[in-house]
């Protein structure tokens, strides 16, 4: 099964470790940002969703952006810097890198995956707000928590009747 980068802001403790880890692995450019919203008391780690039917891939005229089974990637050699992907992406993810005149975005730490290591952001995240796992594992864990709550409720109900 394909592993996905699953981000759950509920668990985020606002530390920005992911930003710094990403920056270290990607030549001083971070592809994940943490938005800390103090009034809402919530922080949101924000990065590429690696859409199945990715608008950035659809609009890219040179096939610099492409999708594989694992995610959406950029071939920098093909990128002509037209910025159509920036227009198309509903999440505002691709960044234009002025120094190299190409677009960059999260590559799921391909160089790490090749060595069987998870992406840096998921590796460093202290609180499980960013995990790299199979989708079924996420749903299984959530269901587990809810089922145990229901068991608790049923037990209580039984003692009351």
């Amino acid at each position: 099964m394909v592993k996905i980068l699953y981000v759950d802001p509920k668990n985020c403790i606002s530390c920005k470790a992911c930003e710094i880890a990403c920056e270290r692995e990607h030549d001083n450019v971070n592809h994940i940002d943490v938005y800390i919203v103090e009034d809402a008391e919530v922080s949101v780690p924000y990065t590429c969703r690696h859409c199945e039917n990715a608008p950035c891939v659809t609009v890219c005229p040179t096939k610099a952006l492409y999708r594989t089974d694992s995610g959406v990637f950029v071939n920098y050699l093909r990128c002509i810097g037209c910025r159509q992907c920036i227009v198309a992406c509903p999440f505002g993810i691709p960044k234009f890198l002025d120094m190299f005149k190409v677009v960059v975005k999260c590559d799921l730490c391909r160089h790490r995956l090749a060595k069987n290591l998870p992406p840096a952001c998921a590796s460093t995240c202290p609180s499980g707000a960013i995990v790299f796992t199979e989708e079924v594992e996420v749903t299984k864990a959530k269901r587990g928590v809810e089922v145990s709550k229901i068991i608790g409720a049923v037990k209580t109900a039984k003692t009351l009747t």
């Binding site: 403790i13 930003e19 001083n28 103090e38 290591l117 995240c125 609180s127």
Partner: protein, 681 residues
């Protein structure tokens, strides 16, 4: 040579995370996560994600001597000769107690052990370190109540708790791995989180109940919680009967602390106090942990006693899923305390005034007697220096000019001394005042053991080469001791031999030998009395380590802070820390990815307070207290009480703070003083 990975322990806070340093030809090139490490399973907070300070061009590379024309480079031989010569001269001229040593919670156990041994063999107990500024009240308070100053159980027990109380701490910023891996895990398994403190900080964002108190009113709230627990009969009666002394005294003391009285003292809501008391009492598996918000008060030790007593009422001791104590702020502050780098304790918490214990250590060291009077604590060292009684100091890896309360007096003290030696990896604010600066190797450039907040002793291996002529602290101390004529007591070839001596001197470390430690990834938790002992995760299982074997309740009364707001200084000033900066910013301030995100201090105030004083978001103002002035940018924050201003201390705000001391632990009241805002335009 090629790229290699070396296992090290993180150099920052007291969690003790493991990671690998990636090096190429002996130079730092990056890090890799240690997914199998028992503490952090790979996870790291922002700080160790950028350790590029190791390669900073500003690292100290040669010994320096202060001259008329500034610092000049000198050779090691000359530097050691000069230091030893001046120390001998001063000891001979003014007596042993005219010199002082500052050990370091950033250095290995072996190095701290040697530095305190050096001080004591020179005839003085004037050896102390920054534990004095943080968890000395925990050490003393928990020591009196339970017999051991350290955390009662492990982080895993926090994860298995059903109720977690975080009081005067912000682990989301200061202890991210404990917050993320343990507290959030417990929460996701259904545990309830109660946070008490003056600011609704990033930890409190995740709380079920947040009790907002004015700085310095914690005892009133703690006593009110106990008042409710007792009056409603919610305490663990069996535990109280079997394992606790002094319950009746407590009942008497807390009876007057109704939630309503506590509310009027603290500004907290009486309803929240009652709610919290009920929630805490809903489980016999709970955690209470605290940090500087509890300890840095004139009543720090009494705050600790109050919190330890709440846990005793609820039976939160000696079993899995319970954990009580201070979250320690530096990677080896627990170890430096264990090693006796404290004015009143020899290694293993043997009191210097304890004749039997002191004799035993003297014999092990091969001397007839050791100094028997309690030495000067850290704040007192600088006071005595200012008044001219301390003539020389040896500072290893500490930066008191930034970390001490009322730091102007620290600077005066340093400048008044006849001779000051600073041994560090960078030219710190303290080093600027030195006569001799000795360039030290950073933690990754040497090897030795660290003890984390859980009492977990771990070996950190050498990953990279030190820059220039920088040397490991251990060998500098050995060379100095030899030059001082103490060679027969400092006959060590390296850290292994020092740890073997520690095994003999400190019973709790007896089984933690160098060979065993190097072969035990994740380390061993003390007490570990023998080499076949696996270590002790949970303390006080059968009985407490007090003389009676029972928990010793010492009831405490509320006492206002030493300095309260008045007409001239109408605001309460408190301090806090931020996640991407560590303490005095010596290391994090030279790591680009961190500096970029956390470039400067931002003082937080409530928008209503800002309105009252006519200041706006991002405005730079002058904060003034009776001790000093400090320019800082203002940031508005809904989560802080009106009338309170909180400033991060990493960048020098301790010019402002109060150095009134806790009489029991000698810790300054850094967390509360009176302050005013002066507009610049």
């Amino acid at each position: 040579m090629s790229e290699s990975l070396t296992p090290v322990v993180c150099p920052y806070c007291g969690v003790g995370c493991g990671l690998f340093i990636k090096s190429l030809n002996g130079k730092y090139v990056g890090i890799e996560y240690n997914y199998n490490h028992p503490v952090n399973k790979g996870s790291l907070c922002p700080k160790p994600n950028d350790l590029s300070f190791l390669n900073s061009p500003h690292r100290l590379k040669k010994p320096l001597k202060k001259t008329e024309s500034g610092f000049v480079e000198i050779g090691w031989r000359e530097a050691i000769k000069e230091v030893a010569g001046r120390f001998k001269e001063i000891v001979n001229g003014y007596g042993s107690n005219s010199v002082a040593f500052l050990a370091s919670a950033k250095c290995f156990n072996e190095e701290n052990y040697l530095l305190q041994k050096l001080a004591r063999l020179l005839g003085t107990n004037n050896v102390d370190h920054c534990a004095r500024l943080c968890h000395a009240p925990t050490l003393v308070g928990m020591g009196r109540a339970t017999g051991v100053g350290a955390l009662t159980a492990t982080f895993n027990d926090i994860a298995n708790s059903e109720v977690i109380v975080i009081w005067g701490a912000n682990p989301a910023e200061t202890y991210p791995i404990v917050m993320g891996r343990y507290i959030m895990k417990a929460k996701n398994n259904g545990a309830k989180l109660i946070v008490v403190g003056p600011t609704k900080n990033k930890t409190a964002w995740h709380s079920d109940i947040f009790i907002q108190v004015r700085p310095g009113t914690d005892i009133a709230v703690a006593n009110a919680i106990m008042n409710v627990i007792i009056n409603e009969g919610l305490y663990d009666k069996e535990f109280i009967e079997r394992r606790v002394d002094g319950f009746d005294k407590l009942v008497q003391t807390v009876s007057k602390y109704t939630p309503e009285l506590a509310a009027s003292i603290s500004g907290a809501s009486a309803f929240a106090i009652k709610q919290a008391a009920y929630l805490m009492a809903s489980s016999r598996k709970g955690t209470i942990v605290w940090s500087m918000g509890i300890t840095q008060h004139i009543v720090g030790q009494r705050n600790v006693l109050a919190l330890a007593t709440i846990a005793a009422l609820l039976g939160w001791y000696g079993k899995p899923g319970t954990c009580v104590g201070g979250l320690r702020g530096q990677n080896n502050v627990q170890g430096s305390c264990d090693m006796g780098a404290l004015a009143e304790f020899l290694p293993g918490y043997v009191k210097v005034v304890d004749d039997v214990g002191r004799k035993r250590i003297a014999e092990l060291w091969g001397v007839t007697e050791l100094p028997r009077n309690v030495g000067l604590t850290l704040p007192c060292i600088f006071r005595e220096a200012e008044s001219g009684r301390v003539k020389a100091a040896y500072v290893m890896g500490e930066n008191p000019v930034i970390s001490e309360a009322n730091s102007t007096h620290v600077i005066n003290g340093l400048d008044r001394m006849e001779f000051l030696v600073v041994q560090d990896i960078f030219m710190t604010e303290t080093a600027e005042h030195a006569d001799i600066i000795l360039p030290a190797a950073a933690w990754a450039e040497k090897e030795g053991s660290f003890t984390n907040s859980e009492r977990r002793v771990q070996w950190s291996f050498k990953a990279v080469e030190p820059p220039g002529e920088a040397r490991p602290d251990l060998y500098i101390i050995i060379d100095l001791a030899k030059e001082l004529g103490l060679e027969k007591y400092f006959n060590y070839s390296g850290p292994d031999e020092v740890l073997l001596e520690i095994n003999k001197v400190i019973p709790a470390y007896a089984g933690i030998t160098p060979t065993r430690l190097k072969n035990t990834p994740g380390g061993i938790i003390w007490p570990c009395p023998s080499t076949d002992h696996e270590g002790t995760r949970i303390l006080h299982v059968e009985k407490f380590r007090t003389p009676s074997g029972k928990f010793n309740i010492i009831p405490v009364e509320h006492q206002p802070p030493a300095e309260m707001p008045d007409d001239e200084y109408p605001l309460i000033l408190t301090t806090h820390r931020v996640v991407g900066v560590f303490h005095t910013n010596t290391m994090t301030g030279r790591s680009n990815a961190l500096v970029k995100r956390w470039p400067e201090a931002e003082a937080i105030i409530n928008p209503a307070t800002a309105h009252t004083y006519g200041v706006s978001d991002n405005e730079v103002v002058k904060l003034v207290t009776r001790r000093g002035e400090y320019l800082v940018k203002i940031r508005l924050h809904q989560g802080i009480q009106e009338g309170v201003i909180s400033v991060p201390w990493h960048w020098g705000a301790n010019k402002l703070t109060n150095d009134a001391l806790d009489p029991d632990a000698s810790t300054p009241e850094t967390k509360v003083c009176a302050c005013k805002i002066v507009k610049l335009r």
